[in-house]
Amino acid sequence: MTKKQIWTWLLFLVWAVFVNACNVWIIRPLVADFALLGVVAIVALAILWIISVPAKYRRVWIGFTIFSLLVGDGLGEIATKPWLPKVALSLVTILGLTIIGWAFTRFKYRYFLGSALVLLILNWLLPLDEWAFLTHFQVAYRARLPMQNSDLTALPLQVIHTSHGTAVVTLENIQETDKQIQNDAQAAGDTPDSLENLLRNAQHRYAFVELVQSGGHFHLDSLPTDSLSAVDPMAFTASFFPFIRGYWMVDNGQVVQYMAPAQSPTVLVDLVHNSGYLPSLLTAVGESTERQETQDWQTLLTQLKVPASNDALHIEQGKLKGMYDGQPVSIPVHAYSVIATGSFTAPGAHEVLLQGVNDLEVVSLDTRRVVTDYHGDTLHPLPSDVVTGPIDNSGRDVIFVNSSPAIILQAEASGQWRQLYQATNDSLRFETSVRFAGDAVPEIITDDPSYIRNSPVRYLTSYTYRDGQLVRNWRVFRTNLVNVNAVQFAPGGSQYIVASNYGTGELFVLKRHRWPVVPAASVLLGITIIAGLWLRLRAGRRARHA
């Protein structure tokens, strides 16, 4: 290969990757954030770029660019398919587009094929659609766990802290062959329902797995049974509660969850017959399902000889119970659930945020009493979607309430709660607040719709709270992220974002980086266009002088 050939190859390969990166980092965000204005900007950008390509190369270069974008887009689309269709569709995409590209440009097809192969490899390392993360994050780990949409809408995630360290627990669909089902069915017989339960739920059974970090790497493991005491079963049934419930069983030493309708037809008919009282009947349905689930979970723990621990703060018979500072806690409260611990009314205070019926309560562990409470409006009840965290360096935590619109509340010991912020649209959702390495103030992580378009399509966005306003730090143009958690896997270690994808079994572990990816890509694109224009101008002058 001559030097010129090497340079040509490099030019084609780098350009194929670069235009795809520009597509994900510049073009798509322009439309997502600025709607019509974004499209106009893209049209202007495209015209400018087309003009900048010297006329001699225009056919080949524009053809090749469109080819690269189509291949990238196609492969990104194919990336989520099972392997056989993936291989077949990739082949069809690459060969088909190469032929079309060649037919249009009449240029050496090996450059087309070569670039497509490079895109194929890159897409295999990280699917093109996930490149959106790269503007602000490294994808430290990603996995696609088997999951059926009819069972779960997204992978449920719960962060647990045990003697083994910090882990994120989730569910994974057990891939059963007909033979395994036959074998399991032979062994099922310890209760009258066990055979029917097993067969009705074959292919719909889920195993508990945990995401752990060891030696700087992430991997998924089956959940050790002694960690089960730290697991909250309700976190794994919330998405279908209360009409469908979770069942648990031990299969080959592994805890398995499956789902089935929770209520008998008699209950369902009563809900119609007495539908005037439906709101309170639905609470009853919830309690009935919760009782069955709690009882089954306790039975499971007993069966596995996992010591049930009552040390964690919880609500029992109208009292906040648990252990704090080596002392048992028992404080009368109105609430039903523990949301979080933190310093809500004063820096350094040890407090617990609780939620009741349309009501939030702050309990002090120092003085062992209810400090203050907040009642929601009946017309806009407080949702159970509440997260807490710091928004500044005051040492106090605030309360993010994801009502529509979402609000930020600051609890005050005086009883007068302050509303620090109200979202300007109904779709903003607060996910968590986190302080990444190098942050001067904590970042508020949200899922938020675009600037100027009132569309509920939401993207992962970071804000800083300043003077009553949220100021945007960055936005990752990746939508459909749910169950977003900020997790520190090792004490003093890096903060990671762990999230699952709505509708698929995808799981992402993201680590913040601070390279100026988007500015760098924009500058490079700008330089390319200016260089092209300058070349054309110079060639034009020469032609006139000649």
């Binding site: 015209i47 609500i315 609430a335 949301i339 009501d359 009132n454």
Partner: protein, 254 residues
């Protein structure tokens, strides 16, 4: 050359206006509670609403549809019911709960439900009439003199309705069903009820509720439910034997 530039300009302008059509567009918000303050109406208006529910409960046939969203944490679950009622003891319902579908059919003292591809016998109810439960709760609210406001009229199914909203205190709207064996720990707070009364036929056409329940271990659960009544005294709402039940019972006889 000039001609080409004009053509190009037109093409680009057209593209700029057509392409946005391909981008995701504004979508209407759903399930948002109304922000209307409403106009207070005298307590006697309860009588109108009560009359509309009683009119419904006296209907020979009607259809009912309920859709509920249960919000717990960041994800929602849902359930829905669709069916016909011929009081006092004839009804069929279809239930969708998550990814599961069941059916119920009753005539007289015979009742069946459909589960996993098969009809099974179940307990019959002595009188099925959803309207009656609304009449009962409206009567209780009227007796208590609960404040009522009127919102702007809305179109439900096939007619305009007068819309009234009331916040019913938990003690009126709370019942303990007999399928919960012992005392309940969970409670439901004050409930927002919105009643839709037909302007021409004067039936209670729709009831929407927004409520929050507190549950042990789980925490709070919001329930947004719409119940719509339609086809009152229409032949369409007449309950007939499900074909697959007939088939199943015929086969069982052989």
């Amino acid at each position: 050359m000039r001609k080409y530039s004009i053509a190009a300009a037109i093409w680009i302008a057209a593209a700029a206006f057509v392409l946005p059509g391909c981008s995701p567009a504004v979508q209407p918000q759903t399930n948002q509670p109304s922000d209307e303050k409403g106009v207070p109406v005298p307590a006697s208006t309860w009588d109108t609403i009560l009359a509309s529910a009683r009119l419904g409960s006296a209907a020979k046939t009607y259809m009912v549809k309920t859709t509920g969203t249960l919000i717990q944490g960041s994800l929602h679950s849902s359930y829905s019911v669709y069916g016909g009622v011929n009081p006092p003891d004839r009804a069929n319902f279809g239930f969708v709960e998550g990814n599961d579908y069941t059916k119920f059919y009753q005539q007289g003292k015979a009742a069946y439900y459909y589960d996993n591809g098969r009809w099974k016998q179940t307990q019959a109810l002595s009188d099925i009439n959803p309207y009656a439960s609304y009449a009962a709760i409206i009567e209780a609210a009227a007796k208590r003199g609960v404040k009522l406001v009127q919102l702007k009229q809305e179109y439900v199914n096939d007619e305009y309705c007068d819309v009234y909203r009331a916040i019913l205190p938990g003690d009126i709207a709370n019942v303990k069903p007999n399928w919960i064996p012992d005392a309940m720990e969970g409670t439901t707070g004050d409930i927002q009820y919105t009643f839709y009364v037909g302007q021409t036929d004067h039936y209670l056409r729709q009831v929407s509720t927004v409520s929050v329940g507190g549950l042990p271990h789980v925490g709070s659960m919001e329930a947004d439910v719409d119940t719509v009544f339609f086809d009152m005294n229409q032949p369409v709402a007449e309950v007939t034997l499900p074909k697959d039940l007939v088939q199943q019972l015929e086969n069982a006889g052989n």
